[in-house]
Amino acid sequence: AQTVTQSQPEMSVQEAETVTLSCTYDTSESNYYLFWYKQPPSRQMILVIRQEAYKQQNATENRFSVNFQKAAKSFSLKISDSQLGDTAMYFCAFMKPLFGNEKLTFGTGTRLTIIP
């Protein structure tokens, strides 16, 4: 079974700074997908970024980018120029892309606070 580990329960940074959230996972699969989701206090889970394991290029979405290290099974999220609206729980998630097995396996989350 796959496991996802987020070793930073809480982090805080000043507005406009850059912050990196860590995620490691354990799998014997060679093809899979990784996701970062954001859950603000309003509780709706929002997709931040997605990475396909067979793509070596790191995914980016505006101020959000990942550092995907497949051999190390590491998938960190970097948030540049952090904004107050980035305050939220961030969850790393793993998906094995097999028909009939599309579930997401989540980590325990990192609570990120952006300080004005």
């Binding site: 996802v4 899979y32 997908y33 996701f35 989701y37 309003s42 509780r43 709706q44 889970m45 929002i46 997709l47 997605r50 396909e52 969850f91 998630a93 998906m95 892309p97 097999l98 028909f99 009939g100 097995n101 599309e102 579930k103 997401l104 396996t105 989540f106 980590g107 325990t108 989350g109």
Partner: protein, 114 residues
């Protein structure tokens, strides 16, 4: 384009009761997954529905059951509620079966069992 919707937003039940939660997927999506998120934890997969059938199930007892309708909407039923069933229940929708489809989440239903 409407996103994933869930009802109700909050629910209070007592032990032993039964509850039904509802989910409407994002327009164009045909697959619905349900997750349970205990306080301070990451979501845990309950089950997934595609073409009105349960396609995959997580490690949850048979008290948890579901249904998908022809319009792709879905219900989650929990029987004989326990205090430990108190959680945020999230519905997520996706499209297709090619593998690796992104799941989009609804706002959740907060269930409190007293």
């Amino acid at each position: 384009d409407a996103g994933v919707t869930q009802s109700p937003t909050h629910l209070i039940k007592t032990r032993g009761q039964q509850v039904t939660l509802r989910c409407s997927p994002k327009s164009g999506h045909d697959t619905v997954s349900w997750y349970q998120q205990a306080l301070g934890q990451g979501p845990q997969f309950i089950f997934q529905y595609y073409e009105e059938e349960e396609r995959q199930r997580g490690n949850f007892p048979d008290r948890f059951s579901g249904h998908q309708f022809p319009n792709y909407s879905s219900e989650l039923n929990v029987n004989a509620l326990l205090l430990g069933d108190s959680a945020l229940y999230l519905c997520a929708s996706s499209f297709g079966v090619a593998g690796g489809e992104t799941q989009y989440f609804g706002p959740g239903t907060r269930l409190l069992v007293l």
